[in-house]
């Protein structure tokens, strides 16, 4: 059933859009520490609190480590809890990022993607998110402010679902999305909250009638079993997320999935990419389509849990596949998206050659020409030409 909701086209930066989504979910507690380019998200959220548009209590901590720690304390106390960070801030949180997931606390975080030092760089790449990819959070990547806003709302529903109970992050590219004024549709506050729904906790520190011990010493006899039950939660994310995506599509007309297929049906050549660069690449795909090149694009939206089974079928039967990574795995064999996809496709009968391009580190612009360069290489691979498996894109080397 399609419901009609007020949706007005408006222009906001990605940070503002996510602040709206977070506000509309009516969190009880927000904890944060400033770091570029996340900062303006919390500025906007703090404005909401200062103006009475949000009744959240803010914890303005002295570090990101404490931001995540306070979020853990808050969420374990049965409060809907949000936070946000970028880059080094995420790295400083890292220890507690694992704990939040292990304790099954559905904290919501905006991770405004920025390169990790050193040298220090404030611009976008995905090394922060990718560094924490095994910590147990849901990683939702966004192409633009619209997707960041939508994912900001959707993540509450997925993460807080009783079958899931996992923290979730909305990833959007630092500056490129976070600071760009962009057109998007938003739900009105009421419709957004109706969609997200009230927070339900599974246990809380704040019930003296039912006291709990959270985070005990867990040794060789039980730790593994607890990890088992955590591992069990991730496949369930797909079912829950699909339901939520469908409901959101009914509500807004915007349909999401674990990935987006762009001109992929008959594509021989495929570019796999995530984040804002996907939009830029689509313009180039169109240009090549006009020239008759059967190129398509797969934009990965959910990197954790990784939709391996789904990708296996959608990427089969192609002639050549390019995987673009906006982060490097130092000493590893290819970027994290590449190794993940290659591993997912291993053993499929008609697996196309997979090549990796590392691009955009430290905010290096992903230009239209870079996408063209990749498509040219794919054509070469498909016609039997030699192209290295691992490549850098847009680097003077």
């Amino acid at each position: 059933m399609t419901r009609t909701v007020n949706q007005e086209l408006t222009a906001l930066s990605g940070n503002e859009a996510v602040a709206y989504a977070f506000k509309q979910a009516r969190p009880h507690v927000a904890s944060a520490f400033p770091i570029t380019p996340q900062t303006e998200m919390m500025h906007k959220f703090a404005d909401f609190v200062a103006n009475g548009e949000s009744s959240a209590e803010m914890i303005l901590v002295e570090s990101e480590h404490s931001a995540m720690s306070a979020a853990v304390g808050s969420a374990a106390s049965g409060a809907r809890t949000i936070t946000a960070t970028s880059s080094a801030g995420f790295a400083l949180m890292w220890e507690i990022v694992y704990i939040a997931a292990s304790l099954r606390l559905p904290i919501q975080m905006a991770l405004v993607n920025r390169a990790l030092s050193g040298n220090i760089n404030i611009h976008c790449d995905h090394s922060d998110s990718m560094g924490g990819r095994d910590a147990g959070w849901i990683h939702h990547f966004c192409e633009n402010a619209q997707e960041a806003y939508d994912a900001g709302l959707i993540n509450f529903r997925i993460g807080e679902h009783m079958d899931v109970r996992l923290p979730a992050m909305v990833n959007y590219d630092g500056f490129i999305i976070s600071h760009k004024e962009d057109a998007l549709y938003m739900l009105d506050d009421e419709a957004a909250y109706d969609f997200v729904g009230p927070y339900k906790h599974k246990y809380t520190l704040l019930d003296p009638a039912n006291p709990v011990t959270v985070g005990p010493l867990d040794l060789t006899d039980y730790y593994f079993e607890h990890k088992y039950s955590q591992l069990e939660a991730y496949p369930r994310v797909f079912d829950v997320a699909q339901e939520v995506f469908d409901e959101y599509a009914d509500l807004t007309g915007r349909r999401y999935g674990f990935y987006e297929e762009y001109k992929l049906d008959d594509a021989d050549l495929v570019m796999v990419i995530l984040g804002s660069s996907a939009g830029t690449a689509k313009d180039v795909v169109d240009e090549y389509r006009e020239k008759g090149v059967k190129i398509g694009l797969l934009k990965l939206r959910m990197f954790r849990p990784f939709p391996a089974d789904q990708l296996k079928s959608v990427l089969s039967g192609r002639q050549a596949i390019a995987v673009l990574d906006r982060s490097a795995s130092f000493g590893g064999w290819g970027g994290p998206v590449f190794t993940e996809i290659r591993s997912a496709l291993y053993g499929t009968a008609d697996q196309a050659p997979l090549h990796n391009w590392i691009y955009g580190l430290g905010g290096r612009d992903f230009e239209l020409g870079h996408a063209a360069e990749v498509i040219d290489a794919l054509q070469k691979i498909a016609s039997g030409g030699e192209v290295p498996t691992l490549n850098l894109l847009g680097c003077r080397a």
Binding site: H28, L205, L206, V212, T213, P216
Partner: protein
């Protein structure tokens, strides 16, 4: 406030037996005493350390009230999150019934000197400055006992530890202790105090004052460690008593910036009396190390004089 043992004994023991602390652990007793005063409407947070470990070995918990541990350096931040959640849920009318009915919910964070003086000081300082209604309790046993008696910034001068051992060239810890209590006083929070488990009445009074001061409070509680300090396991409370009698660990409190020394020994015992009971100071008494003992005494005297001056100054 129940200040007689006759009354206190009627309170429920919220830290049960069956925890895995060492025989003679004064730390477990400190937590037990705190909970006798705090009562069941308490959210307790523990920093990684001996007391967190021994009270919550899965699938057992010695806590009858709610307890959370997440990491080593962050207990102050974690409990500040719980306290904020409480305020928010209360404001929104969404507290569980038992919490809504409670006259007061208490928020207590505890850590050893490792988790407090050292790795946890940033989160502690932040939480105190933000003004959460919470009590931070440091059980100070003067070394990282949980990981094997490594030196901390709370380790007294001269003490042998596994990372600052007494050897043929070096003679234990070469620095004096950090004065954490004073650092907390500098946060201008409503209540800061030092006590020991031997002084049960003093401890209970201070816990209640800390819980009811309406803002952040800090308690530094000396915790003689039979293993780390090297004294017989039945002697823990006596060692705590003598720490006060020698002025190594004065009992005092600072209420809204005003100092009050709760016990002024009539005759000040030499620090050597206290040190010689503990194996960690054994080498200090060897010939040739006389100057160490002298320094230890000087330091205690100097600290005590400073405390007296602070008391005078803030009561003028």
């Amino acid at each position: 406030m129940a200040l007689s043992l006759k009354e206190m004994v009627k309170h429920e023991d919220l830290l049960t037996g069956g925890h895995r602390a060492c025989a003679g652990c004064t730390g477990a007793n400190i937590l037990r005493q705190i909970m006798l005063t705090a009562g069941p409407n308490t959210v307790m947070g523990g920093a990684t350390g001996c007391m967190e470990v021994v009270t919550t070995i899965y699938p057992y918990t010695a806590w009858k009230n709610s307890f959370i541990h997440s990491a080593f350096e962050n207990v102050a931040a974690t409990i500040s999150g719980a306290e904020t959640a409480y305020r928010s849920l209360q404001k929104h009318g969404e507290l569980p019934q038992a919490a809504a009915d409670a006259e007061r919910m208490n928020f207590i964070a505890f850590g050893g000197d490792g988790g407090t003086y050292d790795i946890g000081i940033q989160a502690l300082s932040g939480a105190m400055e933000r003004g959460h209604r919470m009590v931070y309790v440091c059980y100070d046993n003067g070394a990282y006992m949980n990981t094997g008696i490594q030196r901390s910034s709370a380790t007294p001068f001269g003490a042998h530890t596994s990372t600052a051992p007494a050897g043929s060239v070096k003679q234990g810890k070469e620095q004096d202790r950090k004065d954490l209590t004073e650092i907390l006083v500098a946060h201008n929070i409503p209540y800061v105090a030092q006590t020991t488990p031997f002084h049960w009445k003093d401890l209970a009074t201070k816990v209640e004052k800390a819980l009811s001061c309406g803002g952040p409070a800090f308690l530094n509680i000396l915790m003689p460690c039979t293993v780390g300090w090297g004294f017989p396991m039945e002697r823990g409370m006596q060692i705590a008593k003598e720490a006060v009698e020698t002025n190594f660990w004065p009992l005092f409190e600072v209420e809204d910036g005003v100092y009050k020394i709760n016990k002024k020994p009539k005759e000040r015992k030499p620090i050597a009396d206290w040190m010689k009971e503990q194996a960690r100071f054994r080498h200090v008494f060897k010939p040739g190390n006389e100057s160490m003992l002298e320094h230890a005494q000087q330091w205690v005297d100097q600290q005590w004089d400073l405390l007296l001056k602070r008391e005078t100054m803030t009561n003028m």
